[in-house]
Amino acid sequence: MTVMNFVYGFIVLLAAFIFQTALTGVNRKVTARIQKRYGPRWYQQFLDIFKALRKGSITHGWVFDFGVIMALGGIMATVIFIPVAGFEAFPNMDNVFVISYLLAVGMLGMAMSAAGSGNPWASIGVSRALTNMVAYDVPLMIVIFTLIFAFDTASVSEIAAMQQGMGVLGWNAVRMPLGGIVAFIALFGMLGKKPFDSFIAPAEIASGPMVEYGGKHLGFMFILHELMTFIEVSLILSLFFGGGSSILVYAIKYAILYTLVNIISQVMPRFKIDQAVKFFYRVPLVFAIIQGLVVIFLGWGVSVWF
């Protein structure tokens, strides 16, 4: 662990932020086109974030601030651990459990700060967000568990590397199709995209956890959201869609995956939160378990594909 690791980490952080924010901007345009609008400029998202950071803000007490910092800190640490096209800022720290649980620090910080605002809307949003998490995470974790069993490693970069060199057919999403489906659906839940966006649910619960934020707090939340998106999409990309052998491939695949999710979500209705849980426990969970059983007992999709 040298200073260079931290520098690399910072670079990853910065690159991830810039890339994902730009991509979000592009996708705002994509969304607009689907809705037959013109849409904002591609860099609008940057403007929004920097504007928010410049504005004055209110605070509801120390935990309101502390939660925001803890959330962003936790998410940033997670981003640093994400391997991008085989590059790791801190080698050997890309354990999938570490990433997924460290992500939870950020979420906890956000939830804490939101609940600390004293606004019941925020608490309702948090309650829904956590319920949503229980919904999508269990099937996803089971599929990830299957991957760890199959490849005997929990390192994200190693799992990604094992899928490379065989083209599309090497991807876990193809080798383990049910698992791939689960992961793809879970990605919607993770990103809070429709049909699983009831915890943000604009116009329904006064924008959920975000209700009290303004100024720099809101700016933090925007950054947080971009970075979280980066973590989640990267995780699914590396684990199920082969990651990327070079930065360029990685970025292209990433962009396609994210845009695809965005496009699909635009034509979706919204599940109520209990419907979301019900859905996840009815379809993806069963798929995940079947996939797990197939891999564990039959060994299909592990080493022999062709």
């Binding site: 931290f6 952080l13 007490g61 120390w62 460290l102 568990f145 939160i273």
Partner: protein, 607 residues
């Protein structure tokens, strides 16, 4: 210093505490702190003589690493909780007895962990059971004390059966050698295994024996709930440990039907552990009483510990043993903070609280760290142990157990957050405007436990080295530790590095935050309310039915307690029947029975 000296010293100290308490109960309560501290010191003093045996009358002991480890966990919980005793002692109906039983139960657990023969094990076990029964009754419910005793008695009586059976077969009561006589007798081994482990299951709160935890933890005196959840529950883990080491379940059942390389009997118990994780999690999410919520979380965490220990391998076993300490610390901390909130406000119902952070920031922070650990989030102790268990499960491909483990681990975010939000965050009710932070005495245990939780989370290898010794003692492969890194076959973890990177991220965020314009402080009531005017803080606090959508999904589950009550009613019915048949005050009926008995005897005699 021998173990016998330690135990006798402790008993003497307990007696002194009792006598002091008779004079001045508060003084006695302070003495419980001294005594438990003395226990820690003495445990360190005897650490060098591990491997030696001692005996006193019919008690025999053997100093083992595993016993030492369990004792340390236990005494840590007792020691830290003891700091609360002075503040509650005046509220106890029998203060002197409370102090005495508090210490006697500690001594009982230590004796049990070092027991060398079944009788010592059983006597110490029962001592703990009845002392804790009498402490729980000093809380707010007699029924819970009763249920606690009955469930414990089911476990201990059935286990006594196993012990005596083993004694009959092997001719010895010494734990390590007695079980060896069972090899080659699969049916007998099966009976012994299930009966022996039952005490463990009932104590650690495995489904369907979990009924006592929410009742007893929820209504025990606030100073005893941390001990119950953090400490005494772990006695069950010790029995589980014995069933894989001394009983050698993997060898005894080696020729039986196996599931994923695990003998079926063990797998059944593990499935029960998995069910407990799910039941504990779902039920914890539904609770309104913070203590009951934490009690159900203990049920869930007991499942992890059980599965970990029973897997008895390099990775998951280490995880289970580490989870023992990390859950003990986290759970004791959480119960202590709730106790302090209850001390100041008089309630543990989440729907009646709120906004405590503005009056008790230290308590809040301590609770936060405890739940981070309990939910298994880095950089706290709970993460490392859960990580090991999950890696171990993934290594073996135990899908269903893992599914339960994932559900429990993600569900724990839900339930640990609820008290955080409902008790500490949100609106502060005007009636709690005047309450104060915990005083220094109460803060000491909180700091100690928090530091310990953090240390286990950042430097887990300090504890894992002891666990590696236990693995060596148990004859399984030791966990590989390189410097500060844990290396398992399918992954590596450097907890310190995770902590540093987290700190790095936090620092960046902090710098950005400070560099931006300072924000304006507004009151809690100054929130967005869609232009409505609400002036009652209580109405603006979202705390009851926190997870209503989730609760809607899970129909109100069938209370397992009803099963016990049904059995109890059946017993009463039979008793009533016997009473009305045989205890009639009419002599004629007795004559009738005599004739019947004669008839039966004649028939029996003829046949």
């Amino acid at each position: 210093m021998t173990l016998i000296t330690v135990l006798i010293t402790l008993l003497t100290l307990a007696a002194v505490t009792y006598l002091l308490s008779l004079v001045n109960s508060k003084l006695g309560a302070y003495f419980t702190i001294v005594t438990s501290l003395a226990t820690i010191v003495m445990l360190f003093l005897i650490k060098d003589s591990i491997g030696q045996s001692y005996s006193l009358s019919f008690f025999t002991f053997k100093l083992t690493t595993v016993g030492w480890y369990f004792s340390m966990v236990m005494v840590t919980v007792y020691f830290t909780t003891a700091f609360l005793n002075p503040f509650w002692i005046k509220k106890m109906i029998y203060p002197a007895a409370y102090n005495l039983f508090f210490l006697v139960s500690l001594i009982g657990t230590i004796g049990m962990f070092f027991a060398r023969d079944f009788i010592t094990l059983f006597i110490c076990w029962e001592t703990v059971v009845w002392t804790s029964t009498f402490i729980i009754q000093m809380g707010k419910s007699r029924k819970s004390s009763y249920v606690y005793y009955v469930v414990s008695a089911i476990g201990s009586m059935v286990t006594l059966f196993a012990m005596m059976l083993v004694y009959q077969v092997s001719g010895t009561l010494e734990i390590s050698t007695a079980f060896s006589a069972l090899s080659g007798q699969p049916v007998l081994a099966l009976i012994v295994f299930f009966t022996f482990i039952l005490a463990g299951l009932s104590k650690i709160g495995i489904f369907p024996f979990h009924v006592w935890l929410p009742m007893a933890h929820g209504s025990a005196p606030h100073t005893f709930s941390p001990v119950l959840s953090g400490g005494l529950v772990k006695m069950g883990a010790f029995i589980a440990y014995l069933s894989v080491t001394a009983f050698a379940a993997y060898e005894v059942f080696a020729n039986t039907f196996t599931i994923m390389g695990i003998p079926a009997p063990l797998y059944i118990i593990m499935v029960l552990g998995a069910i407990s994780i799910v039941v504990g999690t779902v039920m914890a999410i539904r609770q309104d009483d913070a203590k009951k919520l934490l009690a159900y979380s203990s049920v869930a965490n007991g499942g992890y510990i059980l599965i970990g220990i029973l897997l008895y391998d390099q990775i998951a076993f280490a995880g289970g043993m580490l989870h023992l300490i990390s859950h003990a610390l986290a759970s004791a901390t959480a119960f202590i903070t709730i106790a302090i909130v209850a001390y100041r406000t008089g309630t543990t119902k989440m729907s009646e609280l709120g906004g405590m952070i503005h009056r008790m920031p230290v308590t809040y922070t301590v609770y936060l760290i405890a739940i981070i650990s309990m939910a298994g989030i880095p950089p706290m102790g709970g993460f490392v142990s859960k990580w090991l268990i999950l890696q171990g499960l993934a290594d073996r491909g135990l899908l269903f157990l893992a599914a339960a483990a994932f559900f429990g681990s993600i569900g724990s975010f839900m339930y640990v957050f609820r008290p955080l939000s409902a008790v500490f965050l949100g609106q502060l009710a005007p009636k709690y405007e005047k309450i104060k932070e915990a005083n220094i005495m109460m803060q000491i245990p909180m700091y100690l436990l928090t530091i310990a939780t953090l240390l286990v989370g950042v430097f887990p290898n300090v504890v894992l080295r002891v666990i590696a010794d236990i693995q060596l003692e148990a004859g399984i492969q030791e966990i590989v530790l390189v410097g500060n890194t844990i290396v398992v076959s399918n992954g590596v973890l450097d907890a310190l590095r995770v902590f540093i990177v987290f700190g790095y991220g936090f620092l960046i965020a902090l710098v950005i935050f400070i560099l931006r314009r300072k924000s304006r402080r507004v009151t809690l009531m100054d929130t967005y309310t869609s232009a409505e005017f609400i002036h009652t803080p209580e109405l603006l606090h979202y705390s009851s039915n926190f997870y209503a959508p989730f609760e809607r999904l899970t129909k109100k589950p069938y209370p397992v307690l009803n099963l016990y009550e049904k059995v109890s009613i059946k017993i009463k019915e039979i008793g009533h029947m016997a009473e009305s048949l045989f205890s009639s005050s009419k002599p004629a009926i007795t004559i009738f029975w005599i004739i019947i008995v004669f008839a039966i005897f004649f028939l029996g005699g003829v046949l």
